[in-house]
């Protein structure tokens, strides 16, 4: 079955990238973090809260609260509402839905927001309650969440394609270098490849610097039509194309590719650009080996060439392939569902020229990807978006 021609996102833009600086542990609730992000959106866009007529929320730690509860909580009166529980794919999925909502004029200004808190015990609670398949088929094996599941994927991938820990480590090391320029990154000390290799093992071949640090934080942006942004005098990035895929390649015995590989042709065709045209790339980096997989699946190299690709390129802000310029989740921290937004929000800042100390020169065209929901043996959700700043 081939997909029919999709409607282009003509005139759909994103604006007001917001990051509420992360903290390792927070005694505040997820709602508090989401509220701060909404407040920052309104302030940055110079609008009133009542101008927001669409809301899209993602969070793991809202408890029994949902998007509808949040409208009352924050005094929002919206005519379009969605709650997206797709983990690391939530930002791309939220963006896609919001874009179509404003395109169809079901809403004019949609706030996309993700936030999570991190109490001292909330990581464990999230693990225990992740999904039914996870509870039945992973938790009793002591995996304790994603580390062991990703370890199995990483081990198989590295063995299949002859990838060494040094290869994977280059990604983490480059991101740490980027993070040192981001005052909000939780990781503030340099990381050498030697330190990466010498780190203590967590679940072979996953070692300490392959893992993200759970933390509290929030990320947000607005989606609207170009003319709305213009009337507000808001710098905005045009949405050129998106893809989203769930439960791809179910017959692969082990995950060596994500759903991007299924849709990557469409991603670039819809945007009418080539991978080489991109100025910045923000992948979903819950583990660097997943990033390496994305370099292949998103068309920067062929399957099995990821290691060679990272050896041949400089992934830092000033390098020839600026990647995860804020430091990514690996060095900034993973604030639950906000981790899905981190790359997209940083990508927006980049193409809007608003990234400050992490700004890549002349960044005009960006890509951000998402990956999420490891159910028991593989990540199920994938997505990506390409967007362009006003100067392109």
């Amino acid at each position: 079955m081939t997909n029919s021609q999709r409607t282009p996102y003509d005139g759909i833009v994103m604006a007001a990238p917001v990051t509420i600086p992360y903290v390792r542990y927070s005694i505040e609730s997820a709602q508090w973090w989401i509220g701060r992000a909404l407040g920052a959106l309104v302030a940055q866009a110079g609008i009133k809260a009542s101008d927001i007529d669409g809301l899209c929320v993602s969070s793991f730690t809202m408890g029994t609260d949902s998007g509808i509860g949040l409208t009352q909580h924050f005094g929002l009166c919206v005519r379009w509402l969605d709650t997206i529980p797709l983990g690391g794919a939530s930002a791309i999925a939220g963006l896609r839905k919001a874009a179509r909502a404003v395109q169809a004029r079901d809403a004019d200004i949609v706030a996309c927001v993700a936030g999570d808190t991190n109490h001292v015990d909330s990581f464990r609670l999230t693990l225990e309650n992740f999904s039914r398949f996870n509870q039945d088929a992973v938790y009793p094996y002591g995996a304790g969440g994603a580390n062991a599941s990703f370890a199995l994927i990483a081990r198989n991938y590295m063995r299949t394609f002859g990838v060494s820990r040094e290869d994977v480590g280059r990604i983490a090391v480059a991101q740490r270098a980027n993070a040192l320029r981001n005052p909000h990154a939780l990781m503030k000390t340099p990381l050498t490849l030697e330190q990466y290799l010498a780190a203590r093992p967590i679940s072979d071949p996953i070692h300490l610097f392959d893992c993200v640090m759970p933390c509290a934080g929030a990320e947000a942006f607005l989606v609207m039509r170009e003319e709305t942004a213009a009337s507000l005098g808001l710098p905005a990035a045009r949405l050129l194309s998106t893809i989203e895929r769930h439960n791809a390649f179910a017959d692969d015995p082990m995950q060596v590719r994500g759903g991007w590989a299924m849709d990557v042709g469409e991603l670039y065709a819809m945007a009418a650009v080539n991978p080489d045209d991109l100025d910045i790339v923000q992948t979903y980096d819950d583990y660097p080996v997943i990033t390496m997989m994305q370099f292949e699946d998103l068309g920067f190299c062929r399957k099995g060439e990821g290691a060679e690709f990272v050896r041949a390129h400089d992934l830092t802000i000033d390098g020839d392939f600026p990647h995860n310029t804020s430091g990514g989740q690996l060095s900034v921290g993973q604030a639950g569902a906000a981790g899905a937004y981190l790359g997209l929000v940083e990508g927006l800042r980049q193409v809007l020229g608003a990234a400050g100390p992490t700004q890549v020169r002349n960044a005009r065209l960006g890509l951000a990807s998402g990956f999420g929901m490891i159910n028991y043996d593989r990540g199920l959700a994938s997505g990506a978006a390409i967007f362009a700043g006003p100067s392109r």
Partner: protein
């Protein structure tokens, strides 16, 4: 056991409500072929789970089953990536059924694997208390446990100065220590526990008190009282004397307590009027065993119930065959411990009653009346 789709025959894992191949809702648990291939393994060193944190490093892997699904499993140390494995369902320390992968063929000292021993209660290297050495089952249990590699078998004998059949053999065995124990006597149980309670890793409750008769053919309650004293209160005495220390020592390194075994009449499940009062005392013990299982679970101690039909001993002399040989009961104890089971049915009668009870309990009740 995996879910199999009744419509298309596909196996599914983890358990779900609709077939991933054809969306049929008719998924039933069925015996699945146990073969598979280990795709990838990892050794968890910093698990978030407290239980595993104390047992690191812990190996798990992803197994592609020959019958279709891929399954996360605990790994036997001899499992190798890319090589065939055999899967089984085991009860872990919390009583949850989990999958365990072992190499396809036998490897040397296979049962000594550290992770396998965590899932099971293998008597090898362990110290065991068999509570009644006067009974034939008790004596056979001692022999079987020693043969299985138990380090020490304590065997309880009430009034040990009174001679009994099989005594010589019992006392001659190396690594067997005869101790004074009358389970029906609270003080006797407590005294022994004060002495060896900290050393018992497996307790095999072989208390037996079998008398024929139901309700109307007996006069008064004296025999019933004895049945209750010996079997039911004896159980309580043993549990109170040994249970707390065993529960506390469930995670005690390699010398940890692991299991409590009860030998119960299968007539605990359905009353056999010819031995009606005895059946009732066994039903009481069965109920108690579920209580004990729940109370020992926090310590990771398994409670295994072994159900038998009439055993070939003096008290069932009047009962026609088939009867279970005491040696078969003893061997079942060892095999149940080695496989970490919670329930076992020994012999044809027990197995038949299990099946008939599942099929039609009212019909079974009626038929036992003959």
């Amino acid at each position: 056991m995996l879910q199999r789709c009744e419509a298309c025959g596909a196996f599914a894992y983890p358990a779900r409500e609709a077939c991933p191949s054809c969306l049929s809702p008719d998924l039933a648990f069925a015996d699945a072929p146990r073969g598979g291939v280990l795709l990838a393994e990892t050794t968890a060193r910093v698990p978030s789970d407290v239980y595993f944190r104390e047992r690191v490093p812990w190996r798990i892997g992803l197994v592609k089953m020959d019958c279709g699904p891929t399954i996360v499993a605990h790994l036997h140390t001899d499992c190798v990536e890319g090589a065939p494995v055999r899967m089984s369902l085991q009860l872990d320390k919390s009583g949850q059924a989990v999958t365990f992968a072992r190499p396809e063929g036998e490897t040397p000292n296979m049962a000594d694997d550290r992770q396998w021993r965590e899932m099971t209660a293998d008597p090898k290297f362990r110290r065991v208390l068999v509570t009644n050495g006067r009974s034939v089952i008790g004596q056979e249990a001692v022999v079987a446990l020693k043969a299985a590699g138990a380090k020490t078998v304590f065997v309880g004998v009430a009034e040990p100065w009174r001679p009994f059949a099989g005594e010589d053999l019992l006392r001659r065995q190396e690594g067997v220590e005869v101790v004074t124990l009358d389970a029906a006597d609270e003080k006797s149980a407590a005294d022994l526990a004060a002495d060896i309670g900290g050393k018992v890793e497996i307790l095999v409750n072989t208390t037996e008190y079998v008398r024929a008769g139901g309700l109307l053919d007996r006069k008064g309650t004296s025999i019933a009282r004895d049945e209750i004293d010996q079997a039911y209160l004896g159980f309580i005495n043993l549990a109170q004397a040994f249970g707390p220390a065993m529960r506390m020592r469930g995670a005690d390194g390699i010398n940890n307590s692991v299991a409590w075994v009860n030998i119960l009449s299968v007539y605990a499940l359905a009353n056999w009027p010819a031995f009606g009062a005895y059946s009732a005392s066994q039903a009481a013990c069965l109920s108690l065993s579920h209580c004990l299982r729940a109370e020992l679970r926090p310590g990771g101690i398994k409670v295994m119930n072994l159900f038998t039909g009439p055993v070939d001993t003096e008290w069932f002399q009047t009962v026609p065959p088939p009867k279970v040989a005491p040696r078969a009961v003893a061997q079942a104890i060892v095999s149940g411990l080695k496989n970490g089971l919670e329930e076992m049915y020994v012999g044809d009668v027990a197995e038949e009653i299990r099946q008939r009870l599942a099929a039609n309990p009212k019909a079974l009740e009626r038929e036992l009346d003959r």
